[in-house]
Amino acid sequence: MSELLRSYLTVGIFGVAAIAMAGAMLTIARILRPSRPTRQKLIAYESGVDPVGGDWAQSQIRYYVFAVLFVLFDVEAVFIFPWATRLEVYGVFGLVEMAIFIFILLLGLFYAWRKGVLRWV
């Protein structure tokens, strides 16, 4: 196994360990804790009042546009990271290129801003 793959194997092992630790602790808890469910206990909690309406309430998702904008900038970040580690090699050329790239993305942000997308209504 190569060094690179092996280092990510450790990451995998840690992921499994997290699940195992949570599982072990929940198993200990399962042995110690009582389990006496009643109908009243299993009602969704709404500050002591009986819940009104269905279980999954509808709500306006204003976050949708924010999520779309997030994808835009997150992809941008993926492009900037490799550039950032090699900036000295690229010199002025790299700097100008990235300035143009960031400028175009900023235009996008300002467009969304002017359209009133960033305003919370």
């Binding site: 690179l4 092996r6 280092s7 990510y8 450790t10 990451v11 092992i13 840690f14 992921g15 360990a17 997290a18 699940i19 630790m21 949570a22 602790m25 929940l26 200990i28 808890a29 110690l32 804790r33 009582p34 389990s35 006496r36 109908r39 299993l42 969704a44 909690y45 709404e46 500050s47 819940p51 279980d55 999954w56 309430a57 709500s59 976050y63 924010f66 999520a67 904008l69 997030f70 900038f73 997150d74 970040a77 900037i80 990271f81 950032a84 580690t85 900036l87 000295e88 790299g94 700097l95 990235m98 300035a99 960031i102 993305l105 900023l106 942000l109 801003w113 960033l118 305003r119 919370w120």
Partner: protein
């Protein structure tokens, strides 16, 4: 880097895993006892817990045992499988963060080349767990809290990533160990006595990083998702017993990890002025130095938490998109210009 011990891969990983399993719950114990219990109490002119053990130090152990004995209630309407998985996903995100946190030249679980990029990637996994918890609880408060959390975490993730970029440009690497070395071998106007902690040259990035980290951890000025006065606890409202404790552990474990990232990137990490960067003694002294810096950063995080009132949801989103993101983009361009010109 020198190799401290030459062990086969499986043995070495086993030892590191054992250490990490011991350290991660301890970190949240330290933060909660020191800051959430004692410092908050003193700032509010209270005593805080003082009965259980000397100065109340065993309070959290007692509470963990209490949580172990609590009944595990699944609401009747809940999506049972997702409901059970959610806290484990959040805890997993915290665990994966600890893989790359360096505490000495060799005292690191795995020195990944993608370092800080990896940290940003796994820390955003917790959004998934929170959204799962909020959605599967089938509770109006939980759903609202989960959506608010998702909206907030993705909005503040961007300034967080973009602030890191300034450090990456200066250090020319994503690897956390090499970022520490870059600071240790740096000079401030030709004076290399204390190296060049990036907090001096990247102060704006440091401020943005700390504000965004505060929001990522949903600590108080940004605690809209868990606002107890209106959502009673947000996404974890339906969780009882040990599953609730898992969320709690993950929250403070992540706070510790973010403080560690900040001290590695901006305060010089484990390096002590006057030592060689690959001196073996730093493997012993490094963790102590790191702990000191982490506690200092955590002090500021919790100080802000206890001081400021909550931001409204629209102010919170506006602040991220209209202030922090343009500022952090400007920081990248400025750092790039300085890097190329000087």
């Amino acid at each position: 880097m020198t190799t401290l011990l030459a062990l086969p891969y499986w043995q070495e990983t086993g030892i590191k895993l054992g250490l990490a399993l011991a350290i991660i719950p301890t970190t949240s114990l330290i933060l909660v006892y020191l800051f959430l219990f004692k410092m908050m109490a003193f700032m509010q002119s209270r005593l805080g817990p003082n009965d259980t053990g000397p100065y109340g130090t065993l309070q959290l152990i007692a509470e963990a045992i209490k949580f172990l004995q609590k009944e595990d209630i699944h609401p009747a309407q809940a999506d049972r499988r997702v409901f059970r998985m959610a806290p484990v996903v959040v805890l997993g995100s915290t665990f994966l963060l600890y893989v790359i946190l360096p505490a000495g030249p060799d005292a690191v679980v795995e020195n990944l080349d993608t370092g800080i990029f990896y940290a940003m990637a796994v820390s955003s996994l917790s959004v998934l767990g929170i959204l799962m918890a909020g959605w599967s609880s089938a509770n109006k408060y939980a759903l609202l809290g989960g959506l608010r959390a998702a909206g907030q975490l993705i909005a503040y993730e961007l300034p967080l990533i973009l602030a890191v970029m300034g450090v990456v440009i200066q250090a020319e690497t994503l690897n956390l160990q090499e970022i520490v070395v870059a600071q240790a071998t740096g000079e401030i106007f030709g004076f290399g006595g204390i190296g060049n902690p990036f907090i001096f040259t990247q102060f704006l990035a440091f401020l943005i990083f700390m504000i965004a980290a505060q929001a990522e951890l949903t600590q108080t000025p940004f605690d809209m998702p868990v606002a107890e006065t209106e959502l009673v606890g947000g996404f974890h409202i339906e969780y009882t017993g040990f599953r609730f404790l898992l969320f709690f552990m993950a929250e403070f474990g992540t706070a510790f990890a973010f403080a560690a990232l900040a001290s590695v990137m901006f305060l010089g990490g484990w390096w002590i002025p006057g030592f060689d960067v690959d001196d073996n003694i730093l493997n012993v002294l490094g963790p102590g130095v790191m702990l000191g810096k982490i506690l200092l950063i955590s002090f500021f995080i919790f100080w802000v938490r206890f001081t400021y009132p909550r931001l409204r949801e629209d102010q919170l989103q506006k602040f991220a998109w209209k202030v922090l993101i343009p500022l952090s983009l400007a920081n990248i361009v400025l750092t790039g210009i300085f890097k190329v010109v000087f």
